[in-house]
């Protein structure tokens, strides 16, 4: 039974011992630990949230940058296409003008050639006429050296004139 009997003296000492422990631990012990841990939890919480926000921002940025890149690519394609078309146009124009120029040159050259040819022909003709005149003079001089022949000739010519008049009439 003596095990079950509470003892007044021991209760008294327990009051002192536990009182000291209780006072010290409540004042300087556990609240400091729990408060600090709670603060740490808040800190970790906010850090995690911050990290999440940063990640979201990063993802957004990435999306934006992708959109930008896609747009830039499109623009580049468009520019390239336009440049290509422009080039073709320029080349075609150049071709055209070149062709025109060439044609002009060609025409001019052709005209020149024609002109020169005509001139050449003219001079040749003149030369030939001169030559033939000279030749004819010489021939006529030879032929008309005797009187008979002269006469014959006159005859012949008169005939011919007559013939020509007849044919005209």
């Amino acid at each position: 039974m003596s095990l079950l009997m509470p003892d007044f003296g021991l209760l008294f000492w327990m009051l002192i011992a536990f009182g000291i422990v209780f006072f010290l631990l409540v004042k300087y012990g556990f609240p400091a630990i729990t408060k600090s841990v709670e603060q740490r939890r808040e800190f970790i919480d906010s850090s995690l949230k911050g990290a999440q926000r940063a990640e979201e921002k990063l993802a957004n940025l990435e999306k934006e940058s992708q959109v930008l890149i896609a747009e830039a690519n499109k623009e580049q394609g468009r520019l390239l296409r336009e440049a290509g078309a422009e080039r073709e146009k320029i080349i075609a124009e150049a071709h055209n003008t070149a062709a025109q120029k060439a044609q002009q040159e060609l025409d001019f050259a052709r005209q020149q050639i024609q002109r020169e040819k005509d001139e050449a022909l003219l001079s040749v003709r003149r030369e030939v006429a001169e030559l033939s005149c000279n030749i004819a003079e010489k021939v006529l001089r030879d032929e008309l050296s005797d009187k008979n022949r002269q006469m014959e000739m006159i005859e012949k010519m008169l005939n011919e004139v007559a013939k020509a008049q007849n044919s005209v009439n």
Binding site: M1, S2, L3, L4, M5, P6, D7, F8, G9, L10, L11, F12, W13, M14, L15, A17, F18, I20, V21, F22, L24, L25, V26, Y28, G29, F30, P31, A32, I33, T34, K35, S36, V37, E38, Q39, R40, R41, E42, F43
Partner: protein
């Protein structure tokens, strides 16, 4: 692996010390017997006496063999006033000093000093003696403070929680936050901050006392939580915490519970039941902790005493008993480590539940 090896060494040490202590007591009991006045002849083993000597409070602390720590005896008698003397005087004087004699084994206050009156009757004086249990209490309190306060100091210095605590602090923090998050917060609810330091204090106090009582040599080995006075004190603390801070709803449930009217008026049957319930809760707390801790200590003691009983019959029986006892004692000591935690946990848990019950704001 290292921890495993350490624990085996520790257990072996524990075993040796238990048997060693038992031995010391068995031997010293022979010289003590004439003083305590109980019958014992020819080295017979008085099991009850050995157990009582271990479980009960005493005015001195046997450390080992002949080394005894004599503690101050402080008595107040209505007739003769204050008496303060060392328990060495009791020891030197054959157990009694002045008019003070220890109560016999059949007395409910066995071992406590009684004052012998002039007419030959014994009267109990007020006994404030700084006994073995009281010293053990202060040692345990010191150990607890030395564990918690430096850790708390670190946390006070690093308030913002942006630094990693050292290993020991993290270990204490893990236990503290485990209790706070899984026991105190869910059991009490939104007012938990007010009670959390108290509940943590009783948890760590009981845990420290339980674990210290498992150490079989000097600073430990005293089962303070296996003592009714201590558990009663703790239960009274919880009783105060429950009722001093009880909310209106809690008192309404006691004085005018939500039951059919004929149960509460004109004869206040429910009120009487509820009122009794106020006291059964802390009493259950008190008995549970006391009985569990006492039971464990008693089992270890009895198993150890079996060795000496065995040897008093014969060497063969003694040898086999030693083997058996050591095996069972290892098991029991490990079990007691578990019980030490569980009982501290259960006391705190139930205290938190009872306090939480008194904090209910609105009942459906």
């Amino acid at each position: 692996m290292r921890i495993k090896g350490l624990s085996i060494v520790f257990l072996t040490l524990l075993m040796l010390c238990h048997t060693g202590l038992g031995n010391g007591y068995a031997l010293s009991s022979a010289s003590h017997n004439n003083t305590s006045g109980t019958s014992e002849e020819k080295g017979e083993i008085n099991v009850q006496e050995i157990i009582f000597e271990h479980m009960l409070d005493s005015y001195e602390w046997h450390i080992a063999g002949d080394i005894v720590l004599h503690l101050p005896v402080i008595l107040y008698s209505k007739t003769s006033g204050w008496h303060i003397f060392s328990s060495k005087r009791l020891h030197d004087n054959g157990g009694h000093y002045l008019n003070f004699y220890p109560a016999g084994i059949d007395s409910p206050r066995y071992g406590k000093l009684m004052e012998k009156m002039d007419d030959g009757s014994f009267v109990r004086p007020l006994d404030f003696s700084f006994t073995k249990m009281a010293l053990a209490l202060f040692i345990n309190a010191l150990v607890l403070l030395l564990i918690i306060l430096p850790v708390a100091r670190w946390y006070r210095k690093h308030k913002d929680g942006k630094e990693v605590p050292n290993k020991f602090a993290s270990m204490i923090e893990a236990v503290v936050m485990y209790m706070e998050d899984t026991v105190i917060k869910p059991c009490i609810g939104k007012n938990y901050r007010k009670f959390s330091p108290y509940l943590l204090t009783i948890f760590f106090f009981i845990l420290t006392c339980n674990l210290m009582s498992l150490i079989p040599f000097f600073p430990g080995g005293v089962g303070v939580t296996a003592n009714m006075s201590i558990t009663m004190f703790l239960a009274i603390c919880t009783f105060i915490a429950i009722n001093a801070f009880g909310k209106r709803e809690y008192w309404k449930e006691i004085l005018w519970p939500d039951v059919p009217t004929f149960l509460k008026a004109p004869f206040p049957m429910m009120q009487i039941i509820e009122f009794l319930g106020l006291f059964t809760k802390p009493i259950a707390l008190m008995i549970r902790l006391f009985a569990n801790m006492m039971g464990g200590h008693m089992a270890i003691l009895v198993l150890t005493i079996l060795i000496f009983i065995g040897f008093s019959v014969g060497n063969v029986l003694g040898g086999s008993m030693t083997f058996l006892s050591v095996a069972f004692n290892i098991f029991l000591n490990v079990l007691e480590l578990l019980v030490a935690f569980i009982q501290a946990f259960v006391f705190t848990l139930l205290s938190a539940v009872f306090i939480g019950g008194a904090q209910v704001e609105h009942h459906k």
